[in-house]
Every structure is written in structure tokens, then in C-alpha cells.
Symmetry: C2
Subunit: 336 residues, 2 copies
DNA sequence: ACTACCAATTGGAGCGTTCCAACAGATCAG
DNA sequence: CTGATCTGTTGGAACGCTCCAATTGGTAGT
């Protein structure tokens, strides 16, 4: 009637065997006789025994756990990526330890430090805001996979991303094809993904001889960020007839700003986002966007991590995905 | 140049002191001389030492970690609740270990089992699909806080929720006030929250002498669930002029279905959701809803857990929040 | 009947920490 | 100068598990 949790010793005593045999039985070793196995399992369940992961991971010197950092749980695209990650990690018999840094580098770093203290065997960063140096530092301790970015290159860091520059060009080319010239860009703030998308915008504008029309308003990867930036963008004279917004969730905010100012989407202003979030497919939003295969990217990222875990000699590589235009209802032929 | 991770012994050797003193210094004990402390800290950082959480939690017999289960990361309201939970948990010096069960009871249970193996000191369930018996079983091992539900009662289970029956009534009363009579309800599937909201709907309809008009279509707490159910609801003859949808994300799906069938919101059909998700406030959705104070509920749930952790004698209690009507653009006077 | 082998089982060491009782050396009161 | 007190430091035990080498009983082969 011990007050605290039963241990392997308690189970052993109750089943009338040694602790070693209990350990073997609990881990399905074939060298335990059926009789002992039955007695041990019975004793364990009677006592409500639960193995202590801390002790196990200490003795084992491995945790069978992967640490996952997600940039921002408010944006549903990360849930889509996570779906792929979880599926893959579980299929390898590992657990996921999930943390967020709320888009703040210092918090992210602190959370990763904790993950490493917990002895995670690998790290998956689903977008992040830390410096390359910091990430590389972590990569010296465990294999790392980065999903959504490709800027860090290191033998111990695998990356999976789409080509944001190319994707942004697809977005602008689509608008140009519809006859738009005053195409403004709402950026996603100070981060590499945003920088690439802006770069693609500039390249495509230049290719279309629209250099004079280039107009970038600083926004953020959030609904409110897109909302405020769109207000600013619309205040220009002449106002843009199309907006390429750095990501879908910000595009939703931008639509709100446009409708609020009495204009129609896409009648007066066309909007195209980026990411391909599931919600955007619904008719109430019906958002034209550049889609990335989010769930697949999660899966591939996890898979790359395990490849390295299972074969530490092979260096990590970059996996490039193709961004794809999904034409829906928020873009239309320019009126003007 | 040891291949594996440095331990406290390595640090001790390098600093020329005992492992015990290293342990003390690393935990900011005041009884370490400044000289030793400096030497130890230097040695630790030179070696890239990181304390092993498994060993610490084993020796300490406490993990300083709270396990959090989230129903579904795809619905952004859970991110809002999580914000409150994280803030509170961190302020107590604890870490959060986050898992999802993808709305599946078996997966949820397996994930919680893992959390308990990791020796989490408490459990926060942000909505879940497990049976009362299962949850009560967990509550025998550690204190539990349930956010968003109030159905389980147990001295070791704290609950924080709004009154869903009352909230649903507010929704229906709002529609009735606008002159609607053919008010259909799109439910959220087989779970207690959904059941309560449906119950509130029925009560309010009855109070308004609209018993004959009661019409419930089985949906789900997802955008697609709301979409399909709304299609079914609209097929009725006569079609409803207003829909009370079980939650916001499903309401977004319902709006899509309505617009797709050539009807306008709120011109032809009014829509009211439930939850108060942040996204609904944006003008592009502008969703009328019954709001719950999500972040605050997260915070209060975590706080209730710590109250019990710090004072195990005091039984856990239920905290009731008030649901509140937020009138936005998806409801309007009935035209008939 | 004896060795050889195999299957099942066991105690002990070790994983990296924390806690505790013990200890050395300095400081101080009488 | 002696004992008491305090400050800083130490080795060993313990946490709950896994791994390993060793041990016990059979069973089979000759």
C-alpha cells in the first residue's frame, strides 16, 4: 500500500520474479516463459504500473522522442504541416514533444534548450525566427530538419521548402495575365521567407516591365498584419488594383480591409495569398493562392530526419517542393 | 574530446571540484563560493554542458512539467486557449508538454499515457473525446484541469467552461429578436459540448413557441462539417432563414455552402456561430457569434491546476464563464 | 552417465542527477 | 589556547530503469 507510484520492483515482488524479468516481459522479450509473462502482466495491471520514461531514457541513453518547434499555432497551416510530421514520427515508434516560441527568437531558443535537456534525439523546426548561428549550434547536438525554409546549409540540417521566389513570381504573373499593372505587395515582416517572396515579387514586376509600379508595404504573417498593411496600401493614389499578400492568413485580413473601405474583391481589387491553407478553399473565403503541399512537407521533413538518425554518415539534403497557383475567386480581370 | 555528451562529472573534473558542488552551483545555491561558481560556470560553458532532464527528474522525483492535450490544432480557438495556458504555466516555472489526439479517443488516451510516463505533474485537457471513466482514471494519478467542459466531477479534476446551454439560448434569442422563425441548428457531432448547445437551442425554440420549427442537422466542429450540414439544411422546404451553427469554424463552412447555393448572408440567411474565434472578427468574415473568453479560460484552467498542486487538500472546483453575444455582420432582420 | 547445450532467470553495475551526512578550515568567544 | 560555530566542500546512496555476465534446470546426444 505504498503511497507513491509502483515501480518495477513492486511488480516483481507481486509476481514473484526478479525485476530483470519484469523489465524483459514489459518490453515483449521472447525469452520470457508464457507463465511468467502472464503473472507479470497481471501484477502490473493490478498495481497500475506505468514505466517511468525518465528512468528508462536514462538507462537506455535514448529517449525515442523528437522535439518539434512550431512558429505559430494561430496560423492553421502549421496544423497541416504538423499532421504530416506526427504521422511520420509515430510510424517510427517515436513520440513528438511539441513547443511554440510565439514567433519570438528568445522564447524559441529557450524552448529548444528545454527540448534538448529532455534528450530529444532530433529536432524539427516548422518555421522559426532564430539566427542561423543558433540553429547550427543546435545541429551540433542533434540532427535537425527545417520545414518551410532552406537558408541554413549544414550536413546535420535537412531542409524542406518550396521555392518562395518562384512562387511569388507565379502570383504576380497571374495578376499580370489578368491585366493588372498597379500590383502592390504586402510583405510578411522581417524574416527570410518573407524576404524571398518579396524578392520574387520584384523580379516578376521587373520581368513584366512594371518596375515603376513596384510598391511594398510592410506587413506581418498574421490576419491583423495583413489588415493594417492593406489599409496603408489602399491609401495610395492611385490605389493598387491588385494585392499580392505574403501569406494566406494575412490575405484574409487584407480582404477585410478592402471590403471595409467600400471596395469589392475581386471587383475593385484582386487579392492573391500564399500557402494554400485549407480554410482558404472554402467558398466563403475562396482565396486565390500559391499553394505548398503542406502535409507532405511535414512528412518529408520528418522522414529526412529519420534518414539521418538511422544513417548518420549520409549528409542531410534539401528537398524542394513546387509551389502551385490555385485560382479561386479573389482574383479577376482588371477593370480600369 | 569525449564523443558523447558532457556530464556533471566532466564539468567537475574540468573545474577541479566535486560533482556535488557543480550540482549546487548550477542550481544557484548561495553556499558556493564566488570563485568556485565562476570556475564551474566557465567549465560548463566551455564543454557545452546541458543538464540531463531525465536524470534530474529521476533524482528529484518531479519533472516540473505539465502535460497538455489539445483536441484539434486545426481550429484556431485552441491556440487562443493555449496562449493563456502557456503564460500561466511558464509563470510557475513549469514546462508544457503538448500533444494532440486528433479528436480520436484512442489516440488521445495513448498520448496521455505517454505524458504520464514522462512523469508530468498535472494534466490540462483542452477539450477531449475520452470517456469520463478514462479521465477519472487519469485523475487518480495526477491533478487534472479540463477546459471547455464541465461534465466530469471529481475532487482531482478542475473544470473551466462557459454555460453552453445558456450561450445557445442567447444565440437563438438573438435570431428570434430579428424576426426569424425558421431557425435550424447545425450540431457539432457526438460530444457533450455539442449536446449542450443543441439542448440550449431546443429550450430557446420552445420558449419562443417555435417547437414546430425545430430542425437539427448533424454536423461536426470543422469547416467541412459545417459546409455539408448547411447544404442539407438548405435543401429543406421551406428552407430556414437562419442557422445557429455549433461553432465558428463550422459556421465559416456553412457560409460557404449558403453562398455557393446562390443565397446571400445575411440577406437571405442569417448565420450565428459559437466560440468567438479571433478570425471571425475580421470584416471578411464578420461573423456574429457567442463568444467565450478563450485565453482567460486557458489561464484560469492552468491556475486551478497549480492551486491543487500547491495545496492538495483543497478539492478542485468548477469555474463558470459567461458566454456573450457578439453581434456582427452575418445576422440581420428576417425578410421572409 | 557425462558433457554440451539451451531456455529461463537472476543479481549487480551503471545511466546522470540530487540529497544528505560528514568533514576540513577559518573565525570567534571565553 | 580550546571548543563551538560557520562556510564551503565532499563522497556515497538513491532515484527506476536496462544491460550483461552468470546461474539454474532441463533436455539431448553419445
Amino acid at each position: 500500500m505504498s503511497a507513491s507510484k509502483p515501480t518495477i520492483h513492486d511488480v516483481a515482488a507481486r509476481a514473484g520474479v526478479s525485476k530483470s524479468l519484469v523489465s524483459l516481459a514489459l518490453r515483449q522479450s521472447p525469452k520470457v516463459s508464457p507463465a511468467s509473462r502472464a503473472a507479470i502482466l497481471a501484477a502490473a495491471s493490478e498495481l497500475g504500473y506505468r514505466t517511468n520514461a525518465a528512468a528508462r531514457s536514462l538507462a537506455d541513453r535514448r529517449s525515442r522522442t523528437i522535439g518539434v518547434l512550431v512558429l505559430d499555432l494561430h496560423n492553421p497551416i502549421f496544423a497541416q504541416i504538423l499532421d504530416g510530421v506526427q504521422t511520420e514520427v509515430r510510424s517510427h515508434g517515436y513520440s513528438v514533444m511539441l513547443v511554440t516560441g510565439n514567433s519570438d527568437p528568445a522564447t524559441e531558443q529557450a524552448e529548444i534548450d528545454k527540448l534538448l535537456e529532455f534528450q530529444v534525439e532530433g529536432l524539427i523546426l516548422i518555421s522559426h525566427r532564430m539566427s542561423d548561428a543558433t540553429v547550427r549550434e543546435f545541429a551540433r547536438e542533434v540532427p535537425v530538419a527545417i520545414i518551410t525554409r532552406q537558408d541554413v546549409s549544414d550536413t546535420n540540417i535537412a531542409t524542406v521548402s518550396n521555392d518562395d521566389i518562384r512562387g511569388a513570381q507565379l502570383a504576380v504573373e497571374h495578376l499580370v495575365r489578368l491585366g493588372h499593372t498597379r500590383i502592390a505587395h504586402i510583405s510578411g515582416g522581417e524574416n527570410t521567407v518573407s524576404a524571398d517572396r518579396e524578392r520574387g515579387y520584384r523580379i516578376a514586376m521587373s520581368n513584366a516591365q512594371l518596375d515603376e509600379q513596384v510598391s511594398v508595404v510592410a506587413g506581418a504573417f498574421t490576419d491583423l498584419g495583413g489588415y493594417s498593411a492593406a489599409r496603408t496600401a489602399l491609401a495610395a493614389d492611385p490605389a493598387p488594383t491588385a494585392l499580392f499578400v505574403a501569406n494566406d492568413i494575412a490575405a484574409v485580413g487584407a480582404i477585410a480591409a478592402i471590403e471595409e473601405s467600400g471596395l469589392a474583391v475581386p471587383g475593385d481589387v484582386s487579392i492573391i495569398g500564399y500557402d494554400g491553407m485549407a480554410l482558404g478553399a472554402l467558398r466563403s473565403l475562396n482565396l486565390t493562392t500559391i499553394a505548398q503541399p503542406l502535409t507532405e512537407m511535414g512528412q518529408l521533413g520528418a522522414r529526412a530526419l529519420f534518414a539521418r538518425l538511422e544513417n548518420p554518415d549520409e549528409p542531410s539534403k534539401h528537398t524542394a517542393m513546387n509551389p502551385e497557383l490555385i485560382e479561386r475567386g479573389t482574383t479577376a480581370v482588371a477593370v480600369q
